[in-house]
């Protein structure tokens, strides 16, 4: 089977990589920057990447690791939790509303990058913990630890907010 050129690879994979980068960064502009940085680097390493059995996985791993070690100021742009009070107790048994999704999206921005990356890989990319461990270069146990802490943090935030909402004003 002939190997894809870099341009062919980019045309085929960019939409998915950009979506994935949005999930990691939570921001359209940062996702664009991250993918550009990684793809420029991937171009310079293309001979090595094209020889891999799974070039897409290779580049996605580059993207994930670049996100975790990236130099940009995530805190400034991403921690934008809403101060809007919760208007009454949410009806949790309803289908997730647009407001709820926006709320979870904002809470994701408060997580450390490793934890967010694990959640994205688990629940968006639907990788196994073992596959995530390979991608992040850590053990399965570490992945489970990140996921557990992330989910706990998200639940704690929601619980805390619900508690505040219930308190008499």
């Amino acid at each position: 089977m002939s190997r894809a050129t870099f341009e062919e690879f980019a045309r085929e994979e960019l939409p998915g990589l950009l979506r994935y980068a949005v999930m990691l960064t939570g921001d359209r502009e940062l996702a664009q920057d991250l993918v550009q940085d990684v793809m420029v680097k991937a171009h310079s390493r293309w001979r090595r990447i094209e020889a891999a059995d799974h070039p897409r996985l290779y580049v996605k791993t580059m993207l994930t690791r670049a996100f975790i070690s990236w130099r940009r100021r995530w805190a400034v742009r991403n921690i934008v939790l809403s101060d809007d009070p919760v208007d009454g107790e949410p009806e949790r048994d309803h289908a997730l509303s647009i407001v709820d999704r926006a709320d979870v999206w904002q809470r994701l921005a408060t997580l450390p990058r490793q934890q967010r990356a694990v959640l994205v890989l688990r629940y968006y990319e639907r990788l196994t913990d073992s596959e995530i461990a390979t991608m992040l270069g850590c053990t399965d146990g570490t992945v489970r630890g990140y996921a557990s802490r992330a989910l706990t943090a998200l639940r704690l935030n929601i619980t805390a907010e619900l508690s505040n909402a219930k308190e008499p004003t």
């Binding site: 341009e7 980019a10 045309r11 960019l14 939409p15 950009l18 979506r19 980068a21 949005v22 999930m23 921001d27 359209r28 502009e29 996702a31 664009q32 920057d33 993918v35 550009q36 793809m39 420029v40 680097k41 171009h43 310079s44 390493r45 001979r47 090595r48 990447i49 094209e50 020889a51 891999a52 059995d53 799974h54 996985l57 290779y58 791993t61 130099r71 940009r72 100021r73 995530w74 805190a75 400034v76 742009r77 997730l96 647009i98 709820d100 999704r101 979870v104 999206w105 994701l108 450390p112 990058r113 959640l119 994205v120 629940y123 968006y124 390979t134 991608m135 989910l151 998200l154 639940r155």
Partner: protein, 350 residues
């Protein structure tokens, strides 16, 4: 919660940037990089083997010129090299004449195909700022870069085209003596401990760096090994030393120009991994990274591996120092295993 997360991710897919525009921007950056940073084509580390620059602590708000301390790179080799290093573009004439206060480390130094690049990381403990300067041939200012809209301003007597977007600043100007100089400043945070100042503050830093940029230095590029043999018709056209990934050389015909269609020339690059680490990684991820896997003959006492592919051929000289190997990848003028072994035999290692 898990279903909430899945729904949340899917509900935000629409935020993904336009792929066609992204590809256009990537291709532009690749073209720019080829022209202005040809020396970094390999992108992996390689060391030039001549002499070293040094970390400098910039104090207070005073100007801090990175005055490299010239240290012999070959740290008392166990056996004297049997041949001299071949000529390489191993010096830089550009330097940052001013950097913000903090502890400075030079993170990249590159000279190749007529272009130079030098990058500094300035840390104050909680935050860090990345400063990248370059000089390249040509007379045309870039019209686009990454994102944002440029504006033309006059700074320090230069007509400057600058981009200022959040924590990132980029500027370019045509030098009076010819060539285009660029600077890029990126504000960063260390381990999420904090963030730098506003876009305006970062732009002010960038403009200060721009006005103080030097072009009259003769600073050697730090190098951990040197090239001692060249296949007929090839010359050392590029040397790059990167703090995190090592040193890299590009071997190409003396007359080769940088262009969009530049072939993959022969590279001799350090890699921050050994064959064992590579094999372990490949096994875990069930992938074949295209690295040499067939054991070859020893070179200077080091185990080697040859690419199992028919083309291109790569030679992996394993563990030239702890955790570091050298990969020689063939290109025009060095296409056979014998060519690669001759280059390997000629390496001058510390």
């Amino acid at each position: 919660m898990t279903q909430q997360l899945r729904d949340t991710f899917l509900a935000h897919e629409h935020l993904a940037p336009n792929a066609d525009l992204a590809l256009e921007a990537i291709e532009h950056r690749i073209r720019t990089r080829r022209r202005s940073r040809a020396a970094v084509t390999g992108a992996v580390v390689a060391v030039a083997g001549i002499v070293a620059g040094a970390s400098v602590v910039a104090g207070g708000t005073h100007r801090s010129t990175p005055a490299p301390t010239h240290i012999p790179v070959a740290k008392q080799p166990t056996a004297p090299p049997t041949r001299a290093a071949l000529p390489a573009p191993a010096h830089l004439t550009i330097a940052a004449g001013w950097l913000p206060a903090g502890t400075m480390h030079e993170v990249i130094a590159s000279n190749g195909f007529g272009s130079q690049m030098r990058g500094y990381d300035v840390s104050t403990g909680a935050t860090s700022t990345y400063v990248l300067i370059s000089a390249e041939p040509g007379t045309a200012l870039p019209t686009s870069y990454k994102r944002g809209t440029p504006r033309d301003v006059r700074i320090g007597g230069h007509l400057v085209r600058e981009w200022s977007v959040d924590d990132w600043y980029h500027a370019a100007f045509v030098r009076p003596g010819g060539g285009v100089a660029t600077i890029e400043i990126e504000g960063g945070a260390n381990q999420g401990k904090g963030a730098d100042g506003s876009a305006a503050e970062l732009a002010a830093v960038g403009q200060h760096v721009l006005t103080a940029m030097r072009f009259d230095r003769h600073d050697p590029i730090k190098a951990d090994f040197a090239i001692g043999y060249l296949p007929p018709g090839l010359a050392v056209r590029s040397v790059t030393r990167d703090k995190s990934s090592g040193t890299s050389y590009i071997l190409a015909p003396p007359t080769a120009k940088v262009s969009d269609t530049m072939p993959d020339y022969t590279t001799v690059s350090e890699l921050p991994e050994t064959h064992a680490q590579l094999a372990q990684g490949a096994s875990r991820s069930h992938k074949k990274p295209g690295q040499p896997l067939t054991p070859g003959r020893p070179v200077k006492g080091h185990v080697t591996y040859l690419s199992s592919d028919t083309t291109p051929t790569s030679l992996w000289v394993d563990s030239v120092r702890p955790g570091v190997s050298i990969q020689i990848t063939g290109g025009p003028g060095a296409t056979t295993a014998n060519d690669l072994y001759r280059i390997a035999d000629g390496l001058i290692l510390p």
